[in-house]
């Protein structure tokens, strides 16, 4: 999967944007992969394939783009968002993909316009997402292009709605603009995402570690950071630490 970097991209669209010049225009238009590919079953490798399931291939999950009408108030919010973005001079293709899944709407956005989009969500009278509920990092593992995601859950107390705004970046270039200006509550939460995932939030007022000690090395919640632990003896047998036990997927 790691060599699959440019597959499914939308050629040339991102080049028209007038964002900060240091970012590669090609990367943000990639398709959003949110899962990892699997093969086989039962987590067994190295022994002969006795079950016949060894040839099983499950591709990585790609959330399907939603089609209009999205249903319910989702269309209203999407229309309001695009109108507001237009008024603010944000190109409409800054929203890379919209998905509707399990009754929740997700906007995958171009990181260069994240702050503008959040401001639109907050300030537009027919959106009014005045409350940032949660901001969290997600790491989809080393094999996934743009593995690091920063996920913002916005709440509109006026209309009692919730949306998710998601940005995906590569681990090699994990820079995302900070939304602290728009939602001051993101302060601690962005520090946590930096601490745990190494996502660099540009223009954050004080991006320091928050849960780990200041001199800690590495970002513990990344998938390639070991869980740690020691084998435990139980009734004469040795139980390996959790990250070395058999995993079935």
């Amino acid at each position: 999967m790691s060599g699959d970097g440019t597959a499914g991209g939308l050629p040339e669209t991102a080049a028209e944007h007038s964002g900060p010049p240091e970012q590669d225009p090609g990367t943000d238009a990639q398709r959003v992969v949110a899962g990892r590919a699997r093969e086989g079953m039962f987590g067994v490798t190295g022994s002969g394939d006795t079950s016949g399931y060894g040839g099983l291939r499950v591709p990585a999950y790609v959330p399907p783009a939603a089609e209009r009408p999205f249903g319910g108030w989702f269309d209203e919010v999407a229309d309001g968002l695009f109108d507001g973005m237009g008024r603010r001079g944000i190109p409409s293709d800054a929203v890379l993909r919209i998905t509707v899944d399990r009754g929740e709407i997700t906007f995958y956005v171009d990181r260069r316009h994240l702050v503008g989009i959040c401001r639109t969500f907050r300030d537009e009278p027919d959106l009014r997402f005045e409350f940032c509920s949660s901001l969290s990092g997600v790491d989809y593992g080393p094999d996934v292009p743009q593995r690091l995601h920063s996920v913002c859950h916005l709440t509109s107390m006026t209309y009692r709605r919730r949306v998710r705004v998601e940005v995906a970046v590569d681990a090699e270039d994990p820079r995302i603009p900070s939304v602290v200006d728009v939602y001051p509550t993101a302060d601690f939460q962005e520090r946590e995402a930096w601490d745990m995932y190494g996502i660099v939030y540009d223009d954050h007022p004080a991006l320091t570690r928050i849960l780990m000690p200041d001199d800690w090395e590495g970002h513990p919640q990344r998938k390639d950071y070991p869980l740690g632990g020691i084998p435990v003896e139980y009734k004469g047998a040795e139980v390996p630490p959790p990250d070395q036990r058999r995993s079935y997927t």
Binding site: C132, S133, T185, M196, L211, P242, S247
Partner: protein, 450 residues
């Protein structure tokens, strides 16, 4: 090594082992004050205009291992910052190495004063990913447990808050009554804390036979005892003077800082997820959301006492609503195959089940083994499920990549987010008010640090 060091320091301080020790650093002179030795420090520091005080992380007034750094000019706090992370245990990462069901045992240990809210929110997240919903009886049991848990959590707020402000009677009252709740929870779920009772798909087992009488008995006791708090606190001049007008945080600041729960409601917005975005059938219950316009510590105290009353109302309604039926989804691929019973060696799988899988049905044994060791698959996707925990919006952002283990479990813990409002509430006030402010935020460090 450490013993030597202790002996050294003991020898150094010589005559008075309790004097405030001072040492020179690049930041200036640093004192270690342990109590009873403030005068030594004050004599020295009389000429200083600006003093930086480090409070905690081990301090009885900081609500757990919370560390506060305060910059003072005289008695006035000019700058306040909180330092957290002392109780970080990596629970979120640990859940990624266990099955979806095992995750419950981890999340219940985060905000340890609201374990059942954590369990319920996590389970609802997994259920939403699975596109299933718990049976009606399980939902009612969840509401019952969550409301009992809210009562016990608010009682700890009263107890610790009172102790931090010097009212030890309040502390004994609070913990005495919380004990009643914990006894009841132990009777209902088997454990006082860290229950792991609410599971994806429902609850672990049905309530014990005479739960009704026990819960009603508790309601009666609690309703009587609640008047004690009004007698002790609500009209008491010292309590009022310590809390009124202290820790002011208006509504716009609450929204900007993401503050939720009683702090938000004390600023006048009746935002309670049980009312505005009901879950678990809360829309069927009759209760009020108390609010205030004072936005200070005293109103937050009053609101919490009132919320206990409202929770008792909901608990009584739960008993009436409890309809018979299963407490776990009717799906053998998700529901635990064995029912728990009390055996001669304590609680465990029911003997009938053991007899069946060991003696009669090989398939049942395989099924049991697979479900317990491997767990169940959850279709890929992500959800965000918020519930109204005692401290505010407790949100679970659960991501699945289609496997038998969570890809990511993020907890939006209300204590963590609310703690950001601490500088805004404390700066400009007196040192004594800092304690009142922290008490009114009521952070639980297990939830803050996770």
């Amino acid at each position: 090594m450490s013993i030597d060091a202790e002996q050294d320091s003991g020898a150094r301080s010589g005559a008075d082992p309790f004097s405030a020790e001072a040492r020179e650093t690049t930041e200036g002179r640093v004192y270690t004050v342990t109590g009873g030795d403030w005068e030594d420090f004050l004599d020295d520091a009389e000429q200083e205009e600006r003093v930086v005080i480090n409070l905690g992380p081990q301090h009885p007034s900081t609500h757990g291992v919370l560390r506060l750094v305060l910059e003072l000019e005289g008695e006035r706090v000019t700058k306040a910052r909180s330092v957290i992370g002392y109780l970080h245990t990596g629970i979120e990462k640990n859940t990624e190495y266990r099955t979806w069901t095992q995750g419950v045992t981890f999340v219940t240990r985060m905000d340890y004063l609201a374990p059942l809210h954590n369990e319920a929110a996590y389970s609802m997240g997994v259920e939403k990913l699975l596109r299933i919903s718990a049976p009606k009886r399980a939902e009612t049991i969840r509401v019952l447990l969550m409301e009992l848990n809210r009562i016990s959590s608010h009682l700890v707020f009263l107890a610790t808050g009172a102790m931090e402000l010097g009212s030890t009677t309040g502390m004994t009252f609070g913990f005495r009554d919380r004990e009643e709740v914990l006894h009841l929870l132990e009777f209902l779920t088997g454990l006082r804390m860290n229950h792991a009772f609410i599971r994806p798909g429902g609850v672990a087992q049905d309530l014990p036979e005479n739960y009704r009488e026990k819960v009603l008995e508790f309601c009666k006791v609690m309703e009587n005892r609640l008047t004690d708090y009004d007698k002790l606190f609500s009209g008491q001049p010292i309590w009022k003077q310590r809390l009124s007008g202290v820790g002011y945080l208006p509504l716009d600041a609450c929204l900007a800082l993401g503050t939720s729960g009683p702090i938000l409601r004390s600023a006048g917005l009746g935002w309670d997820l049980r009312k505005v975005q009901p879950y678990c059938g809360y829309e069927e219950y009759d209760f009020d959301v108390p609010t205030s316009n004072d936005a200070d510590c005293f109103s937050r105290f009053l609101l919490r006492v009132e919320e206990i009353r409202q929770s008792l109302r909901i608990v009584r309604q739960c008993l009436d609503k409890m309809e018979s039926g299963p407490v776990m989804v009717d799906d053998p691929k998700i529901a635990w195959p064995a029912q728990l019973t009390i055996g001669p060696d304590g609680m465990g799988n029911s003997l009938d089940h053991v007899r069946k899988i060991m003696g009669q049905s090989m398939e049942s044994l395989i099924h049991h083994f697979k479900l317990v060791t491997e767990g169940f698959d959850v279709p890929p996707g992500q959800v965000y499920v918020p519930v109204e925990a005692p401290r505010g919006e407790l949100g679970y952002h659960v991501v699945s990549d289609g496997g038998t283990r969570p890809m990511r479990v993020h907890v939006r813990d209300p204590s963590f987010v609310n703690l950001q409002a601490f500088p805004a509430m404390a700066e400009g006030g007196l040192v004594a008010d800092v304690i009142a402010v922290v008490a009114s935020i009521d952070p639980v460090m297990g939830g803050v640090d996770r």
